[in-house]
Subunit: 210 residues, 2 copies
DNA sequence: GCATTATTTTAATCATCATTAAAATTATTG
DNA sequence: CAATAATTTTAATGATGATTAAAATAATGC
């Protein structure tokens, strides 16, 4: 049995990680493509040239597979956000960087990122953890908007709604993007601008709220 | 057994329709809230004060329940689009109307609209039908953008990507909106502007494509 | 090469719901 | 009210697919 202990990273552990990571990507692709209920463990296993039972060497059960996919998705988002914050010059520019970095991950070789459609069917601890990660990410994005408003690069707006709008658009990408490299290039190129274009525009009739 | 025949609409048929419609709303709420696999027919039935087996009087099986939810979702979208087209003055204004109308339905008493997350697990005919409805709706939206570009109310942009961005944002709403009326008012108020704000902005470096 | 550990498979088992059939109840109509 | 049709329930049944245990294979370290 795989030790799973932390401590010093040995060859075996790292091989285990790599394989499990491959598994998570395969699972994410299946889930995005065929839905959660529509993908059996056999579907995932087939993609890896394994038998369904073999997956249980890497995860306790199907729920945990989903959970790990979601944690990975959250990680990717958080890293993109951090990198943008580290490099960004002002609010708006940081938002644009974040969008680009995150999208690059989603459509690039970080492989498919799972859409979080099944959070409610996770077990309570996992559900809470994923929800918390999700909330934190939203909050970080809203903070970016706030920063932009403060430095004048972004016009005043409703943080919550603007955040929901932009993040929703982002989250939906895996629904229609399925690996075509030409499309990938286009999304990376177009989306950051499209999604941030409205941020600079003067808002006609609403002042900043909340 | 319910006749289900078309022809003249009698009292029984209409009662049947009303009840089935209630059922679809209950199902949509469950699916959005707990995911497809996470909702059993008993969950839906409980919401209606019925027993799970009773649902089979209205639908052939669970797949058909999903299918009907999706058709209803498509109907709602199509009606919002049509109404906007009928009333809109120019491209941009029609886009705004469409967004408002569609969102009003989603968060209003048309009850929850199901997120189309499980299209792939529909049976082939149903899947094709729903995909076709979906494609048509996207095409209609892109046509709206085109109209706006033609009449000068919308700046040139990539139709496909811009459409994906805006529709994605819209489609994601049921993921975070769960019935709070205060939030409902805010979405209706804010989203159409937020989502259309970028359409008028001059695009820095990209000409219209395709 | 041997011993040990890691990984995968084979072959059941098990649980959960979806589904069905028949009976019971409720509504409608003449 | 009687008769018929509509609706719902009760009580099985069944299928799918997740899960498990034990055995087999492959890899690794000495």
């Amino acid at each position: 049995m795989q030790s799973q202990s932390s401590g010093t990273e040995n060859a075996i552990d790292s091989r285990f990680r790599v394989k499990r990571d491959r598994m998570l990507k395969a699972a994410a692709r299946c889930f995005n493509l065929k839905g959660y209920s529509g993908t059996s463990l056999k579907d995932v296993a087939d993609l890896l040239g394994l038998t369904d039972a073999a997956l249980y060497y890497y995860v306790r059960n199907k729920q945990e597979l989903v959970y790990l996919c979601y944690v990975r998705a959250a990680d990717v988002g958080r890293e993109a956000m951090q990198r943008a914050i580290d490099e960004g010059e002002n609010g708006l520019e940081t938002v644009r960087r974040y969008l680009r970095y995150h999208i690059e991950c989603m459509v690039g070789d970080q492989g498919p990122i799972a859409i979080m459609s099944e959070i409610p069917s996770l077990k309570p601890e996992h559900r809470e953890e994923v929800l918390e990660l999700s909330r934190r990410h939203s909050a970080a994005f809203e903070a970016l908007l706030e920063r932009g408003i403060a430095d004048g690069s972004i016009a005043p707006c409703d943080l919550r709604m603007t955040g929901n709008a932009i993040m929703g658009s982002l989250n939906w990408i895996p629904k229609w993007f399925h690996g075509d490299p030409a499309v990938a290039a286009k999304v990376v190129e177009e989306f950051p601008r499209i999604l941030s274009a409205g941020l600079t525009a003067r808002q006609q009739d609403s002042a900043q709220r909340k």
